[in-house]
């Protein structure tokens, strides 16, 4: 099958620091790929390169998005969102002063078009668009189970719900691929179980998932394939069982965190 996202020999340097070194892997449509590795391995940097926040120092990223297969390195984040890549953040980044609904409504920005004149004149197309935005936003809030909090302030949500809101916001951009950066961080076991259900529901909705996660049990449990980074180098890629048995991985990651696994 044609890969959805292809990362080829991507290198990212921050001054003297090599955060990513010649990393290559691919994401296939309809799968959950786990991107794992110890702290500081370069996982978030990889997300940022894919999402257009950083431009890779060298290498190629191609995405089979809404406009066919495109080489995306150097495109801006808003362009990547438009192409169909959505992401959440390791440190929650909600629009704190806005309501839950407004957080999701902002995400419809890239799929809507009314401008200053529409807003001021309240044209019919603008009103219809606003209505559609609310409906679509509520659909995603229901999807993550936050519909009843729609008009509350985003910061009034419990921590786990804030993470779910970030996921709803990402989904509302209408992505083909969603990248979740440590979505279970700070969640209690019950919240984590609900998160696993949510991730499966995302897949069922036809959105491919890339997941950064520290909780090895969770990763082994839900990912079809794993890619393992260590010090910016991709040291293994494959099905969880194979990765778990890989001596390099055990040394770099599982070895140190054996208690986790």
């Amino acid at each position: 099958m044609e890969p959805l996202l292809k990362v080829e020999n991507v290198t990212k340097r921050f001054g003297g620091l090599m955060a990513l070194a010649e990393v290559s892997f691919e994401v296939r449509p309809g799968e959950i790929l786990g991107l794992i590795g110890p702290n500081g391995a370069g996982k978030t940097t990889m997300f940022n390169c894919i999402a257009g926040v950083y431009k890779p120092t060298s290498g190629d990223i191609t995405f089979a998005g809404k406009d066919g297969v495109v080489r995306t390195n150097g495109l801006k984040p808003e362009k990547m969102t438009g192409l169909g890549i959505a992401r959440t953040f390791q440190n929650i980044r909600l629009f704190g002063a806005l309501s839950v609904l407004d957080n999701v409504r902002v995400a419809r920005h890239c799929r809507t078009s009314s401008n200053f004149f529409g807003a001021v004149l309240r044209t019919r197309s603008q009103k219809e668009e606003e209505k559609a935005i609310i409906e679509e936003s509520m659909r995603w809030l229901e999807f993550v189970g936050l519909a009843k909090h729609a008009l509350d302030n985003a910061t009034s949500l419990a921590y786990g719900n804030q993470r779910r809101l970030e996921i709803a916001r990402a989904l509302a951009t209408g992505p083909k691929l969603i990248m979740l950066d440590e979505p279970a961080a700070g969640m209690n076991p019950r919240e984590t179980r609900r998160l696993v259900d949510l991730i499966h529901a995302i897949l069922d909705a036809g959105v491919t998932v890339v997941l950064i996660e520290h909780d090895m049990k969770l990763v082994m449990h839900i990912c079809q394939r794993l890619a393992v980074l260590d010090h910016g180098v991709l040291i293994a890629e494959g099905v969880p069982e194979a990765v778990r048995a890989d001596p390099q991985v055990i040394e770099a990651y599982l070895g140190r965190g054996a208690a986790h696994a």
Partner: protein, 349 residues
């Protein structure tokens, strides 16, 4: 609480609107109120940048000056009607907003603030030194007042607005217009994009908002509204000089916005009332105390310090409030209320 206040506010507004027509109305008072109204427009215009987008703009007065001189010069040299001048002045302000915004909005934080400050100083320098155009420090006297020209309908129908009363009503109309525009923008795709930029720029970009473009749009609209205030001011005061547009004015408008609550439109209006009334009051009181009128700047500074200390978010900190009045959201609220009560009875059953 607001619901109880509503009838009171309504009566106050009606009284204020009727006051100028009363035989006992006072020209000085009307002048001050009209000045308040002009600053309301300016405060609403500036509010877009620090309030909606989180951009510290110290050069807002530059656009006010551009609007005023556009209006003044077009009146003196071409005798244009106020009604033609207003859109031209707004467009000219917006144009300079874009010209300043495109190269500088890539800068962040303090650097951006400094550049806008420099821009306002440049405008004053230009107005002072380009004597061929602006008459420099001599100022522009003899600007025609606003008029309605219906002579194409009836040769006698030419009305000039003289005195304070008509300008009061004109200013009220201008405030109402800008208020409506701002409220509608606040509850729209454009307004939400701005708020997103203010709250978290990276997350906004991840939602597909083109940050630079939306900042430039904000700058253009803010500048256009500043220029609108200027265009009115020129035809009301009938005299312009460069020192009316010194940095100090930017700071004053910024104080209004901060005092009211960054991003809150009603707050901007309240800020304008409080600071202009205070300024006029101090202008009367300070000489009695044997102090120079300029010492009122100290009082403004003191107020800013006190706000920052006791009410750092201003008096009305809520943002994006306009959408609560949108029928679509009211509808949703009802739906959610039904949903919640249905859920409760559901679990009880």
């Amino acid at each position: 609480m607001l619901a109880k206040l509503k009838p009171v506010l309504f009566v106050l507004a009606a009284a204020a609107l009727a006051y100028p027509l009363m035989p006992f109305s006072n020209d000085y008072l009307l002048h001050v109120v009209t000045l308040v109204l002009v600053y309301m427009v300016l405060a609403m215009g500036l509010n877009i940048l620090p309030g909606f987008c989180g951009l510290l703009d110290l050069g807002f007065v530059g656009f006010y000056g551009i609007g005023a001189y556009t209006s003044g010069l077009l009146t003196i040299h071409y005798g244009m009607s106020f009604w033609v001048i207003v859109p031209l002045a707004c467009l000219n302000g917006a144009l300079w907003g874009v010209l300043l915004g495109v190269p500088t909005l890539r800068l962040v934080g303090d650097y951006f603030a400094i550049v806008t400050f420099g821009f306002a100083e440049l405008v004053v320098l230009f107005l002072t030194n380009e004597i061929w155009l602006t008459r420099g420090p001599l100022g522009l006297p003899g600007i025609e007042p606003v008029s309605f020209d219906f002579t194409w309908l009836n040769p006698d129908w030419y009305f000039e607005l003289i005195g304070e009363v008509p300008y009061f009503y004109l200013a009220v109309a201008m405030v109402a217009f800008v208020w409506l525009v701002m409220r509608r923008i606040e509850d729209s795709r454009l307004g939400r994009a701005w708020f997103a930029i203010r709250e978290d720029t990276l997350a906004a970009a991840s939602c597909g908002v083109n940050i630079l473009r939306y900042k430039v749009i904000a700058f253009a609209i803010s500048a256009g509204i500043g220029a609108l205030g200027g265009a009115f001011y020129a035809r009301w005061s009938l005299f312009l000089s460069p020192d009316m547009f010194k940095f100090w004015e930017s700071f004053l408008v910024l104080c209004m916005v901060v005092l009211g609550g960054l991003g809150n439109i009603a707050g901007a209006l309240v800020g304008a009332v409080v600071l202009i009334v205070l300024g006029e009051g101090l202008r009367e009181i300070l000489p009695i105390l044997g102090l120079a009128p300029e010492t009122r700047f100290l009082a403004y500074g003191l107020i800013m310090v006190l706000i920052m200390r006791f009410k750092p978010a201003g008096f009305f900190p809520a943002i994006a409030t306009a959408s609560a009045r949108n029928p679509l959201i009211k509808d949703l609220k009802k739906r959610l209320a039904g949903y919640a009560s249905g859920e409760k009875s559901g679990t009880a059953a």
